[in-house]
């Protein structure tokens, strides 16, 4: 089979990675702001929610690895930590402001796949989280090892951007924020879980489930339980309002 897109990636400098990651987080936050503004949240609520969630994403994104491994040298940004930070920031903001709670939660949950998807392009450029050895129409060769690999980071980018678009359309078309949040979380967990089989780290470890997959499952279950609990609180509140 002829290689139509045989791309060779040079060893890029690391700052590009951190710049793309922070840029993708900021872009996701801007998207969440636009959705919240469209859903009718107050301007002050949007500003404080963004501030708190941004801080939570970076703090938990950097700290989760240290907490799980118990090694201070393993400090580094992880997607699962970022997702946990986003959930904590959004939930704390819901209880602080009590302003369009369901819409606020949905706007953050819908924007999360966009952040993750864009951040994966940084992995592609930096040469980390690379795919399994592969010879096909689109293969990636890094200068560090000269092995043809499956472009799993770009595939993750495309899949998660698609999940974001589906979530956005569902949110705008159906006006069911809680249902949309659950669908987006389910799609994200399935996407992350299945695409991990195409990663070299999973292929080389030869285990049935990788750490990434276990983390993705745990995060998905935690997020769904949290959303269900919040949903019950919102329903209770609406019941009190309606008498």
């Amino acid at each position: 089979m002829t290689n139509m897109f045989n791309v060779s990636i040079a060893n890029m400098r690391f700052p590009i990675y951190s710049t793309i990651v922070i840029g993708s987080i900021i872009l996701g936050i801007v998207m969440a702001c636009i959705i919240m503004y469209r859903e009718g949240l107050k301007r002050s609520t949007i500003i404080y929610t963004c501030l708190l969630t941004f801080v939570c994403i970076l703090v938990f994104g950097l700290g989760l690895n240290v907490t799980l491994t118990g090694n201070l040298r393993s400090i580094g940004f992880t997607g699962a930590g970022g997702a946990l930070g986003l959930l904590i920031g959004a939930c704390a903001s819901i209880f602080i402001h009590r302003d369009h709670e369901e819409e606020m939660l949905a706007s953050w949950v819908v924007s999360a796949p966009l952040m993750y998807g864009l951040a994966k392009t940084a992995c592609h450029v930096a040469g980390c989280c690379y795919g399994i050895p592969y010879h096909g129409r689109v293969e990636i060769i890094y200068e560090s090892d000269h092995i043809s690999r499956f472009p799993v980071q770009l595939t993750e980018s495309a899949v998660f951007t698609l999940i974001f678009l589906i979530g956005l359309i569902l949110l705008l078309a159906t006006s069911k924020p809680i249902l949309t949040s659950k669908i987006v979380i389910a799609m994200s967990v399935i996407g992350k879980f299945s695409l991990d089989y195409l990663r070299a780290s999973h292929y080389e470890s030869e285990t049935a489930l990788s750490e990434n997959q276990i983390l993705a499952l745990c995060m998905g279950i935690l997020a769904l339980v949290l959303i269900n609990t919040l949903d019950r609180i919102f329903l209770k509140k609406k019941g009190i309002k309606n008498g």
């Binding site: 922070i22 090694n71 201070l72």
Partner: protein, 153 residues
């Protein structure tokens, strides 16, 4: 005619008439009412200060008391022991939670007491330190990479 009877006779026009409240004219009663009126703002000010000081305490004490000794022990080289590993996990989790709790309390103070100068100052200090920290981490990573490159690693 009694004042209440007069109001009933006037009907809807009573809304436009500015009727003075019946305040007892004894001089002693005024002294009782005045502290009650000023009690509410002082209570809210107390709550505002409590929130701000609690936030500041968590911001400074949480991460520094929990994390800095752990980092110092890491530098000394005690990190290989299992006890140190558990301590690192707990320290990292508690440090992160107290840091976020400080931010949450500051935002509650900002939302509840919009004119509070203390909360406003705290907010800008936190934002400033956070921005500088993010920049410092990026610069540290760049310098480490450059250092490793210059060593030929």
């Amino acid at each position: 005619m009694d004042k209440n009877q007069l109001n009933q006779n006037i009907g809807p026009y009573v809304q436009t008439v500015n009727v003075e409240p019946e305040v007892p004219s004894e001089p002693g009663t005024q002294n009782i009412i005045q502290p009650e009126a000023s009690a509410e703002p002082s209570e809210s000010k107390k709550l505002e200060r409590l929130l701000c000081f609690l936030s500041l305490g968590l911001y400074i004490l949480g991460p520094s008391v929990i994390s800095i000794p752990l980092y110092l022990l890491e530098i000394v080289g005690v990190s290989e022991t299992p006890v140190m590993s558990v301590l690192s996990s707990i320290g990292s989790a508690l440090g992160s939670i107290s840091y976020i709790a400080a931010w949450v309390l500051m935002i509650i103070a900002r939302v509840k007491f919009k004119k509070s100068v203390f909360a406003k100052v705290l907010m800008w200090v936190y934002i400033g330190i956070f921005a500088v920290s993010v920049l410092a981490v990026i610069i540290l990573i760049i310098s480490c990479i450059e250092f490793l490159r210059s060593c030929g690693l």
